[in-house]
């Protein structure tokens, strides 16, 4: 099993969710995060005090999937989250060793 973690632009959430549903993935967890990268931020000015804000709002999506599905999932996210402009984000894949569904106690692939 793997966890696919993606950093995306906030307004792409619905499209990514739909893409995942389209390939049969029906669970995911989303976190509001701030990203720092190549995409340039903006300047805010408050009564003469200027702040260069370089952290931009992003969403982090985490999807646990069975090993074999991982490429399909990565491709689905990458496709749906892409605008082609700087700051589109990243996808990272990690292994998970164990999974449990709290409600039923089912484990591993059954738990997803």
């Amino acid at each position: 099993m793997k966890i696919v973690m993606a950093i995306i632009k906030p307004f792409k959430l619905e499209e990514v969710r739909d893409a995942l549903t389209g390939i049969g993935v029906h669970g995911l967890t989303v976190t509001e995060v701030k990203g720092y990268g190549r995409q340039k931020g903006h300047t805010e000015i408050y009564r003469g005090a200027e702040y260069a804000v370089s952290f931009l709002p992003k969403l982090k999506i985490e999807v646990a999937v069975a090993g074999p599905d991982v490429d399909k999932v990565v491709a689905a996210i990458a496709g749906a989250a892409k605008t082609g402009q700087i700051g589109d984000g990243k996808i990272f894949v990690t292994s998970i060793e164990h999974a449990v569904r709290i409600r039923t106690g089912e484990t591993d692939v059954d738990a997803l």
């Binding site: 307004f11 619905e14 903006h42 300047t43 805010e44 408050y46």
Partner: protein, 500 residues
Amino acid sequence: MMRSSLYRWGLGALALAGLAAAVIDPALAQAPAAAAPAAPKPNAGDTAFVLISAYLVLLMTIPGLALFYGGLVRTKNMLSVLTQVFVIVAVVSIIYVIYGYSLSFTSGGGLNAFTGGFSKAFLMNVDPTKTAATFSNGVVIPEYAYIIFQMTFACITPALIVGAFAERVKFSALLLFVVLWVTFIYFPMAHMVWYWAGPDAIADAAKAVAAAGSDAAAKAAAEAKLAEVKADAGLLFQWGALDFAGGTVVHISAGIAGLVGCLVIGKRIGYGKELMPPHSLVMTLIGAALLWVGWFGFNAGSNLEANGTAALAAINTFVATGAATLAWLFVEWAAKGKPSLLGAASGAVAGLVAVTPAAGFAGPMGAIILGLVSGGVCFIFCSTVKNAFGYDDTLDVFGIHCVGGIIGALGTGIVVNVALGGAGIPDYETKPGELVAGAYEFIPALWAQAKAVLFTLAFSGIGSFILFKIVDVVVGLRVTADREREGLDLAEHGERAYNL
């Protein structure tokens, strides 16, 4: 005096270089029409009442309206809405003392049916001793009090419009539009609906007719004079259209301008596809409550005197709002399954709008009916009708202000009827010096109202369309798609609303 007003004029000109210099013809300057020579003195109670009513209208605009609107947009556009409303107040207040008051409430000479003139530009010829007429014979208030009260109306009206195209309009375009709109739509509308010679002028002329007795020539002269005094009024006033506190001038004219605006500027990116829930209904509730409170200044204050009719207007304002709140709430509960805060707040505003033209004319039961109707009908407009047509009037300026305003304007023609508990149509001629209720006939009363509604829809609708197009050509109405995505707060104002 001459020298001082010259200095004064010079000072103004200096401050606002160039503006208006050409259009003001000193020859037009005349004695203030609103104040009779050896006239009655203002009463401190009325003065206090009108001043505080003016403060309340400001309160309903900032922070009231600003929050009511601001809470409904997305976080990223919150400050843009607040800034728009706040700066509109600032801009219009300056314009108002420069030429707005004069265009609204002086005689416009040959164009008097449509607009005033420049005789009080820069508030020339006004000082603390000058007075303005009310609706009772022999009762006046300081002209400055009248000016500040009317000024707050001019400030809030264009601010109502911004709700229709919130979240996408360019700030510079909005400012330009507002300057044009108050100049070419609002001040003329205010003149056409509310400019008249005042009760004492009519009473004097009517008394002269009575005094003329059997002398045919004198009688004819006196009657001609009376006709002239009565003709010294705006077009809609002459039609006999009733508008106690601004159903046509404020709500219909702003509401139709909003509809036109959102059609010209187009839908928001993602409209109908992305979730766009209100970012803070708490702010919307605060705004709605302050609108309710401040609207007493608007409606009861429009009586210009603190008397029983002002109290009636206040009660009407209260119960129409209560009724509309309940109407929207229960209709929504029935139709959608849940009674919502936003429904209650929207209903309240719909009720406030509808009772505005009727405030001092209806009785409390008539006001309740107006509220019930407007709460229900505006709900249908904002949910079903709007979805059916698919226009993106962001904050339902049309569905609430225009529709509610039309309900109120037409309804005023009905509930004013004394037989239905109304206060009646004022008649200053029959018993000169006393205010009595005139005869009421259903068809003429309703027709006068309907004409006023149609005229306002056409005048403000077409006029606003032209002004939007001009602004679009000059500076462009809409921000770029990127800036719209980023949010107007950062893109247009360089700030974020919250850093929690």
